[in-house]
Symmetry: C2
Amino acid sequence: MERPDPTKLPATAWAVLGILAFGEELTGYEVRQWADHVLRHFYWSPAMSQIYSELKRLEKVGYAVSRAAVSDDGRGKRVYGITASGEAALAEWAGRAPVEPPVLKHGPMLRAWLGHLSTPERLREQILEHRADTERELAEADASREVAARFPEWAYPELTIRWATRYYAAQRDLADRMLADLAELAEDGRREESA
Amino acid sequence: MERPDPTKLPATAWAVLGILAFGEELTGYEVRQWADHVLRHFYWSPAMSQIYSELKRLEKVGYAVSRAAVSDDGRGKRVYGITASGEAALAEWAGRAPVEPPVLKHGPMLRAWLGHLSTPERLREQILEHRADTERELAEADASREVAARFPEWAYPELTIRWATRYYAAQRDLADRMLADLAELAEDGRREESA
DNA sequence: CGTTGCATGTAAGGTGTTACATGATTAC
DNA sequence: GTAATCATGTAACACCTTACATGCAACG
C-alpha cells in the first residue's frame, strides 16, 4: 500500500535545491543561469520549464519558499530561497543517499561504433567537430572556474568546475587518440585493398 | 500541420538498430546483452522493456523484421534482423544527422559540488567509492574489448570500447586529482581553525 | 523598430523506468 | 527445491523537452 514518499525527489530536484543552498534568493531564471554556467559541466542543465516546476514542487514540500520581489527596473518577479528544512533534507540526501553512477551518452562515439556504415572521412569530420565542441566547453568551464575562484564560499563548486576543465581536457585527448586509431584503421584498409 | 515524421527516431532506437546492424538475428534479450556489454560503456543500456518496444517500433517502420524461432533447448523465441531499408536509414542517420553533444550526469561530482553540506571524510568516502566503481567498469570494458578484438568485423566497436577503457582510466585519474584537491582544502580548513 | 535579455508559465507529448506477470530450463 | 538464466511482454507512472503564449526593458 506504500504511498510514494513526497520527500523522495529526483536528482534534478536536489540539484535545483542545491543551487539555492548557496544562500541567495534567486528567480527561476537565475537558477537556470547558474545551472547553465556551473552545473551543466558535470551534471546537466534542465529546461527552463522544468526548473519552474521543480521550484514549485520544492516549495510544496517545504524545502523552498518564494516571495514576490521587484527587479532593479521595477518589474515584478518571484524569488526562491531554501528553508531550514530544505537545507537539512539536502544535507541528508548528499551524505546518505546512494550515489548514482555517472551516466554518459556520447553521441560522437555512437557514430564511431557504427563506423562500418559510414566513410573514414565523414567519421573523421564528426570526431573533429566533437573535438572543437569540447575545446569550446573547456574554455567556458575555465571562465566559470575563474569566477568561482574569487569567492571563498564557492570552494567546492570551484573544485568541481576544476574537475570539469580536466574532464574536457581528457575528452579532447581521447578524441585525438581516437582520431589516430581511426587513421591507422583506414591505413590498414588501404593496404588490404592494394594487396 | 506537419505530422511527426515516423522515421524520426530517438538515438536509442538507432542504437538498438545499430546492434542489429552487425548482421546477426537477435532476440530482445540478446540485444539487451549487447547493450550491456558494449553500448553501455559509451552510450547507455536501456531497460529491457524499452528494448522490446523499440524493436516493435523498428519493425513497424520497416527497419527490422522478426520471425519466430526456436532456441537450442526447443523453446520458442522471436528473433529480429535489420532490413535493407533499415540499414540505409541507419547509415543516413549516422552520416548526416547532427551529432548530439555528449551528455554527462555525474552523481559523485554533484555530491562534491555540495561539499559544504557534508564532511570532508564522508565526501572522501563517496569519491573513493566512485573510484572503485570506475575501476570495475574499466575491467569490464577491457574484457569486452578483448572479445571484440578477436573478430575483424568488429573493428569499429573495438575502437569505441578502447576509447571507453581510456575514458575510465581518465575518470579514475580525475577522481585521484579530486581526492588530492579535497585533501588540500581540508588542510586549509584545519589551518584556519587552529589560527 | 527589431532583437536580445529578463521573466514566467501551460499544455502536450515523447522518453524511459519500475513494478508486475508469466513460464521454462539449467545448475547447485 | 530454489536460484539463476533465458525469454517476453504490459501497465502505470515519472521525467523531461518542445512548442506555445505573454510582456516589459534595454540596446542598437
